[in-house]
Amino acid sequence: MKPRSDRPLASRRGLFAAAGGLMATGFAAAAPDRASASNALPATEPFWGAHQGGIITPMQSHTYFAAFDLTTERRQAVIDLLRTWTNAAARLTSGRKPAPLAGQPTPQPLGGMVAPAPGDMATPADFTPPPPAMDSEIAEGLPPSRLTVTFGFGAGLFQKNGRDRYGLAAHRPAALIDLPSFNGDQLVAETCGGDLSVQACADDPQVAFHAVRHLANLAYGTAELRWAQTGYCARPADGSTPRNLMGFKDGTQTPADRDKVVWVGPEGPDWMQGGSYLVVRRIRMALEHWDRTAVSFQERTMGRQKHSGAPIGLKGEFEPLGLDRTDGDGNKVIAEAAHVRLANVATTGAEILRRGYSYNDGVNFTAERWPPWRQGMEYDAGLLFICYQADPRTGFVRMFEPMAKLDMLNQFTTHTGSALFACPGGVREGEFIGQSLFAGV
């Protein structure tokens, strides 16, 4: 492992150990003894470059994640959309207002008036109605807030219901698999999948949503929203590791060789060079049940101490886990089915870069799927788990398949949404995201 100069020298293992934790990147730079992490962050994040933003960008405090379904049958419409989206995202992330819309679908001609009032006589003459508002302007007056917009391609872009709509079916990368069913999944079909994804992250939730809303407006007639999820990350002012809704510190380090773990290399197609595969899982947490569980058991389940974040039996958050430690009876100090053990690269051989957000959608009626089978109004809150890797088969799938069966934490979590997207490499100004996928076809 290559120690970074601004980190404690001891190697660090966080939650989802080998993965690099929830706060993978930004808070690596914000070591605990730093006075104010946010001062170190720029106002805007770059858009053009070798990589899309929002993957190794230091985490912003809010996300609006949206999956779209393409409704067009025309390949050119998809190209036009991606070009429009690329240019719009470049504008928005630089802090500029959206460009005035030209050539957007307009309402049918009214026949006579710009904006008629009751009592106006009508004529059959055609005219141009006033354009729709289109820009919500909800980001007016707000700073750029480090907005990043990250685009992903789902399997449906390449083939949908057995149909090759855009001539791309033969170009679906092998790594863009159909995610398998995992033990315990309670996936809601409407909140899974998608032909295209947009991950908008910003330090202001309204700036993040504004970006997705604007892109959705631009997509009118070509793509429509399939599902969306907001999320947030509560960052302590002292720069220490944020806590997830279970109250545990979540996220410490990047994988030892982050670039190797995240970026697609020569094994991938041209348009994926410098890109990454995104797995998103909406994970509901049984928080009421968790709050009625002893802290000692929570810690045993996680494999870490709740307050300090240190591995069970150790002192410092960033100490190595010591998975081989046993107690006097020969039992493992960190339980065999503890979350941190099952997620660790030493156990799984898999590494991912985590960049997930807490989510909280209020309360609704649910029936818990473990004894004592509680039913009632419960929080629909938990983790919008997002991770990036060069290949999901050797990343998330390899890591999670055994975890889904064995992790003690599973009795407090339920996966309700899931998707896999191929996020193309970055582009230069004048190009559009995924351009070389279409050029080669």
């Binding site: 309402p107 049918q108 009214l110 710009v114 008629p116 009751p118 006589m121 004529t123």
Partner: protein, 397 residues
């Protein structure tokens, strides 16, 4: 005519982007222009619509039970029971949950007192009305005080669960006294036309339900809900014995073969307007055909005239709905696909002009889907119409 043109020109050159209110100063200017032009030329108006420009919302048509989507507008010809002569009766097609074919209420607006009251609330499933109650644009009040209204019901807001429906006869206190059904009564839909002679009456009702499937049953060629051609106009010759409810003496299909189909958004599309001229010609607004047709000898014929003779099609018509005969002999209809009313001269088979009466820009084009029922004011100088965007009834005067 010149006055009207000047007014039109003035409007066309003015950019209006501040919503429907017109500045008072400008109104005064326009009025003075019109008066001046009129004085100079003393030109007769080409039609009725140009004499009517004020649009005043009278009342909400939503009763306590929350019914939505007002359809029929009928002006009471007499005082009887709960009704005062001149009251405006409006029925509702949707229920509180905005599901179509489940409205059960008729409200009454008294223009003298400006008060609105509930005239009738029908039980959801009165005996003998197949499928229950969803009140449509088919409604009339007779001089004898009886109210007759059509039901084209559903269970889920779509034709997938529609019932054949019926005609319901109410007394002037809003109580159900009779239900008319039969193989010729299926989806009573458009505004009724009536020739009312006191102890007898001739009633015309369009029937748009026959064989209609749910809106998901598509024509593979077009992808649209399957288009049928079984809609009819039924003539009911009624006897109304003194003090007794009307009874059907004879029933005759006088027009048939009109297009109709289910619709995901507006339940069904079919012939929605009927207007009877003094010479016995019945005009029908054929929504599917986007046209007005004429059925000759409608009051006396014994057979179907098919879809009759086309009077005018397309042009300013955008799926015409309710139809009324104007004092000047013209027809007035309102569009489904924009918020305009269109005036037609049936003698010359031509459209005169159209006027914006609902300009709600929340729909595109403005007012699309907001118009349905129409009724002439008793003095012939204005008309009442519903605004389905706001669940209100409006007077144009």
């Amino acid at each position: 005519m010149t006055g009207a043109n000047n007014r039109q020109q003035a409007r066309n050159t003015r950019r209006r982007d501040h919503g429907p209110a017109r500045p008072a100063r400008l109104t005064a200017l326009l009025t003075s222009m019109l008066v001046t032009a009129g004085a100079a030329q003393a030109t007769e108006p080409r039609g009725f619509l140009e004499t009517v420009h004020r649009h005043v919302t009278l009342t909400s048509t939503v009763p306590d039970n929350g019914d939505q989507n007002p359809y029929a507008v009928v002006v009471a010809p007499v005082s009887s029971g709960k009704i005062r002569q001149g009251d405006v009766l409006i029925d509702n097609f949707n229920n509180l949950g905005n599901l179509q074919g489940l409205g059960t209420t008729i409200v009454a607006y008294d223009p003298a007192s400006k008060r609105t009251s509930l005239f009738a609330k029908l039980p959801r499933h009165p005996a003998y009305c197949p499928g229950g109650v969803g009140l449509t644009t088919a409604m009339t009040m007779l001089k004898s005080g009886w109210v007759i209204v059509g039901s084209t019901p559903s269970q889920d807001g779509t034709t997938r669960t529609r019932g054949d429906g019926c005609l319901l006869v109410l007394d002037a206190n809003g109580q159900l006294v009779a239900t008319w059904t039969g193989p010729d009564i299926n989806g009573p839909w458009g505004n009724m036309a009536v020739l009312d002679q006191g102890t007898s009456a001739t009633l015309f009702v369009s029937m748009a339900g026959f064989n209609l499937p749910g809106p998901d049953v598509r024509d593979p060629a077009t992808g649209e809900p399957k288009l049928l051609h079984k809609a009819t106009v039924l003539r009911l010759d009624l006897t109304i014995p003194q003090g007794q409810p009307p009874a059907i003496r004879s029933r005759t299909v006088i027009a048939s073969g009109f297009g109709h189909r289910a619709d995901q958004d507006v339940f069904l599309i079919g012939p929605t307007g009927l207007a009877l001229a003094p010479d016995g010609t019945l005009y029908v607004s054929d929504a599917i055909g986007n046209r007005i047709v004429a059925i000759p000898q409608a009051t006396t014929r014994t057979d179907s005239a098919g879809t009759g003779r086309e009077v005018t099609a397309n042009g300013l018509l955008q799926r015409p709905l309710a139809l009324v005969l104007l004092p000047n002999g013209h027809l007035l209809t309102c569009n489904a696909l924009n918020g305009q009313a269109v005036e037609i001269d049936p003698a010359e088979n031509r459209q005169i002009y159209a006027q914006w009466i609902n300009t709600n820009q929340a729909q595109s084009p403005p007012g699309s889907g907001d118009l349905f029922g129409l009724a002439l004011r008793p003095d012939g100088k204005g008309f009442y119409y519903v605004a389905d965007d706001m669940n209100t009834v409006v007077e144009a005067r």
